[in-house]
């Protein structure tokens, strides 16, 4: 209000200068806000990395610090000499589940997404509804669990880490959106050349949807790599622990003990993994994601943006 009054009493050119000054404040504030938020997002990661390279003694005396006084590989050496085989085993489980799960998911998701993107499929809306309904109503955790265990025998079975997460309705609709944007004349041309739907799907639809494939593929990779819930539900056999669940079993023990509810005698008998070990296991768990992140981030953002615009 006062700014508006002032600008009346001064000349137009001065008004413009005030205007651009105000604009500059908007810009400065934007930089500051984004910089601060970016820091809040990255700082925890940097802290975790640096703690994993600090010696246990230094952590106990100085607490968690971003820049440690000295740098050591002791924790990693310790982890791999003590529980190296366990971690490698879990790594193997996670890598296997992620690779097989993602390939399977992509095939399942893209096939149905392609089929219901075609107008010639008469029951495409029925199928879309059948898919959509599961996202607005579900039987809940318990019936799902009982059926998975009693009927499908998924407890302590590697399939428990693969099958329940194999089809995401959300990803399917993202793929369908992309496939619908492909010009039907391309399909018609292929049909005239005698191509069946399988050929059209593999030779035309998939190669034209690379961004979508990368985005959806990444979503599935993340969901398999980060999945520990299904392991919590179904897996008791330590040989089948995925990495995330291995980390969970370490961290949740520690949380329970620091709450003070467990009697001192019992707490002493549970061997606490030390602070640095926890942080190092965390880094080992997210390692591949950190390395891949700079390369995939760009495609991911582009894919989500395009998918969001079309909806």
């Amino acid at each position: 209000m006062t700014a508006a009054k002032n600008s009346k009493s001064i000349s137009a050119s001065e008004g413009r200068i005030i205007q651009s000054r105000k604009d500059r404040w908007v810009t400065i504030f934007s930089y500051a806000f984004l910089g601060l938020f970016a820091l809040i997002c990255l700082y925890p990661l940097l802290l975790t990395v640096s703690v994993s390279f600090t010696s246990e003694r230094l952590i106990a005396s100085d607490g968690f610090r971003l820049i440690p006084k000295s740098f050591t590989l002791d924790t990693y050496v310790y982890i791999f000499s003590h529980s190296g085989s366990r971690i490698l085993r879990s790594y193997g489980v996670t890598v296997f589940v992620t690779v097989v799960g993602t390939l399977g998911s992509m095939l399942v998701t893209c096939m149905i997404g392609y089929a219901i993107s075609l107008k010639e499929l008469r029951y495409r809306n029925v199928i879309a509804f059948v898919c959509n309904f599961t996202s607005i109503f579900s039987a809940g955790l318990v019936p799902w669990y009982v059926i998975c265990v009693n009927w499908y025998g998924l407890s302590d079975n590697i399939l428990a880490l693969l099958l329940p997460a194999m089809f995401s309705v959300w990803n399917m609709f993202l793929m369908r959106t992309y496939f619908s944007a492909i010009s039907p004349s391309l399909y018609d041309a292929a049909k005239i050349d005698g191509a069946g739907h399988m050929t059209t799907f593999f030779r035309i639809a998939l190669p034209l949807s690379v961004t979508a494939l990368l985005t959806v593929g990444l979503m599935y990779i993340l969901s398999y790599w980060n999945n520990w819930w299904n392991a919590l539900m179904f897996i008791n056999d330590r040989d089948l622990y995925p990495l995330q669940y291995y980390l969970y079993s370490i961290v949740s023990n520690v949380n329970a003990i620091s709450s003070g509810k467990i009697p001192a005698g019992a707490a002493a008998s549970i061997k606490l993994p030390s602070e640095t070990v926890k942080m190092a296991v965390t880094i080992i768990t997210i390692g591949p994601i950190i390395f891949l992140y700079p390369f995939i981030q760009r495609y991911f953002v582009r894919g989500i943006m395009t998918g969001a615009v079309k909806e």
Binding site: F33, L34, A139, L141, S252, N255, S259, A308
Partner: protein, 326 residues
């Protein structure tokens, strides 16, 4: 009508004619049948005193007993319902305001290394699992100290997390975070917003990239400041997107994120009362109270969820001129 045409356009004809396409749908539909539709038959368990030996359809039928028990004389019921609503309420408010702010500010700065770097940092939390977030959080909240009985001095007995070091640096007494339930709702809400904001801001950025640039040019010529352009152009034009996303979250207001609560709080029973949601209660009562009872709670939740999503869809159609949520 001629019988031949009717036959040609019948159900079987369609299946046969497009058999490759239906075949392509089959794996996904089988997975949905296995993991979504068949479990719906298990809803029957809510009306039984379920035991594993007799199975789903052999266990004794008890009518609505499980439901009655949940809603009457069970202090946990209202606690977990109110926890779910409180966590989701703040999650929706902050989880809408922050991503919109991020998207708007992202739009205000020039592209360059800073933009790329901050964008990259913003999405990073989305790539972490809740277990990893819980482990990282430990580095912030861990506490190892005791207060001397006589002098009241704080004596550090081991590693202290970033938060406690900050408090001690300010001359304030450190806090045993993992033994103080009162902080945990705020911590969970903060983590949830932190993890999702970068990802959700992409959706608003996508919406903004579709706005008509000539409107902004006209506004500049008319002497509108950047701030006015944000409040008078960008925010009103974002409204339909905001309405859809907020209503979608309201549709899921009775659902909590078990992965988040369990990943971050773990088996810490001291603080879990403050953050237990309906979903985590279903999970824990499955082990302690039996399958019939926990199924009943899950069903109440699903039905409330269905009602809320229908209401949300109805409201979306009212507000956005016939454009529903699904």
């Amino acid at each position: 009508m001629n019988a031949g045409i009717v036959k040609k356009q019948g159900f079987l004809w369609e299946i046969k004619h497009n058999k490759t396409l239906y075949f392509m749908c089959a794996p996904a539909l089988v997975l949905l049948l296995m993991f979504s539709y068949l479990p719906m038959g298990g809803i029957y368990m809510a009306f039984t005193k379920f035991n594993v030996v007799d199975g789903i359809f052999g266990s004794p039928f008890v009518g609505f007993q499980n439901f009655v028990y949940f809603f009457s004389g069970n202090p946990y019921a209202w606690q977990v319902i109110s926890n779910t609503l409180i966590l989701n309420f703040w999650g929706i408010i902050l989880g809408t305001v922050l991503p919109i702010s991020l998207a708007i500010f992202m739009n205000e700065i020039k592209s360059g290394p800073f933009k790329k770097l901050s964008q990259g940092a913003m999405f990073f939390p989305y790539f972490l699992s809740w277990v990893v977030v819980g482990a990282i959080l430990y580095g912030f909240l861990t506490s190892n100290f005791r207060i001397d009985r006589q002098t009241g001095e704080t004596i550090v007995t081991g590693a202290n997390g970033v938060m406690n070091r900050l408090l001690m640096g300010l001359g304030v007494n450190p806090i045993r975070w993992y033994a103080e339930p009162r902080f945990w709702k705020a911590i969970i809400i903060f983590l949830n917003v932190w993890k999702w904001s970068g990802y959700n801001s992409i959706i608003y950025m996508a919406a903004m990239s579709g706005f008509d640039g000539s409107l902004y040019e006209a506004a500049t010529i008319d002497g509108a400041s950047r701030f006015q352009q944000i409040t008078r152009l960008t925010i009103p034009m974002l409204k339909p997107t905001v309405v859809v996303l907020v209503l979608m979250s309201i549709g899921r207001i009775f659902f909590g994120d078990t992965g988040m609560i369990w990943g971050v709080v773990g088996q810490n029973s001291t603080v879990s009362d403050a953050v237990n949601v309906i979903d985590t209660y279903v999970y824990s009562s499955m082990r302690t109270m039996g399958f019939g009872y926990s199924t009943a709670i899950g069903i109440c939740q699903s039905i409330m969820g269905l009602i809320m999503i229908m209401l949300a869809n109805f409201s979306a159609k009212k507000i956005n001129d016939g454009e529903g949520l699904f």
